[in-house]
Symmetry: C2
Subunit: 192 residues, 2 copies
């Protein structure tokens, strides 16, 4: 997110077919809540294409990549590695230290989210193993709460570039307006 050091989400444990929707939701959540890119380990071309399509329509910048070799990404990451796991330290206890490294000291952040089975070396290679509760729930939910706390809500005000449409917040109903090429907003409900 603009004004912050890089945040990359690494999605481990993707099983083609079975995990397509969960992986897509991990990627879209990363995008919507302030991460700069998602790297997906495994054959997730379906999810990658969906995330790219959303970025094309609703804006970026946001990058998606597939990787077979995720271990070098973790091992050689030039900053802080955080692994989200229900076995980790409580997020409320460590989020301040992580923010200090990321926002204050400028270290890029790699956020690792798995599914069922994460290899033990990920626990060892991560500077922080973090639990968004120590209860079993959802890697999507854990990532969402973690990012919202990391940015302390600033991600909700993120601006988007190269979008071709924009949703206008409304108390009732749906309003989507086209964005013209010069960057001005068109009018959705009352075309002129």
């Amino acid at each position: 997110m603009q004004g912050y050091p890089e945040v990359c989400v690494l999605r481990l444990g993707h099983r083609p077919g079975r995990d397509n929707r969960m992986t897509t939701h991990v990627g879209l959540t990363a995008r919507a809540l302030g991460a700069d890119r998602v790297s997906i380990a495994g054959d997730a071309s379906n999810s990658r294409d969906t995330i790219r399509d959303i970025t094309d329509r609703f804006g970026g910048p946001f990058e998606v990549e597939l990787t077979e070799e995720w271990r070098p990404l973790v091992r050689d990451w030039p900053g802080v590695v955080v692994h989200l796991t229900m076995y980790g330290e409580r997020v409320q206890d460590v989020e301040g230290a992580i923010r200090e490294r990321h926002r204050d000291e400028g270290d890029p952040l790699l956020v690792v989210v798995g599914s069922q089975k994460v290899p033990f070396d990920v626990y060892e290679a991560s500077e922080f193993n973090v639990g968004v509760t120590n209860q079993p729930h959802s890697e999507v939910a854990g990532l969402a709460v973690f990012l919202d706390r990391l940015f302390e809500g600033a991600e909700l005000d993120r601006e988007w570039t190269d979008a071709d449409r924009r949703v206008v917040p409304r108390a009732t109903g749906k309003e989507v307006v086209p964005i013209e090429e010069d960057g001005e907003h068109g009018s959705g409900e009352e075309p002129s």
Copy 2:
């Protein structure tokens, strides 16, 4: 959650088979992040059983129910109805008003989460239509951020009853300890 008026999550739009995992994650996220129960519209017995199994093992109280007739639940809800949608008002703008109704004035809260298509009458029947960002991402992520903000993090300190195990937060590795019937914690790593 103890000390708060009821929070019920209503999951709409469940398609058997295709949505099983998303619906399970909605339910587990509701449980882990402070809701009291989830009501699932449609034939989601698979998800219900998984959520019950987790509650049996990791504790409650938390209720799961399936419903064919969800409209009366919305129509007759004796409190505030919040519908999470990317078309809604910005969560950062309305969360204070919702907390005031829920925590301060004591109104039970119904949180409606859909999937692709939510009938228009849900928008009209909801006192608040709320967007956790106005971007497309995940109903699981939206629910998670909403609950964390609703409770202002207090849900992370929730205590659990009738669990048979407990995860001990750790900087590295996994520790799960059995909970004995008298409520004392057994020792996981160093059995006495």
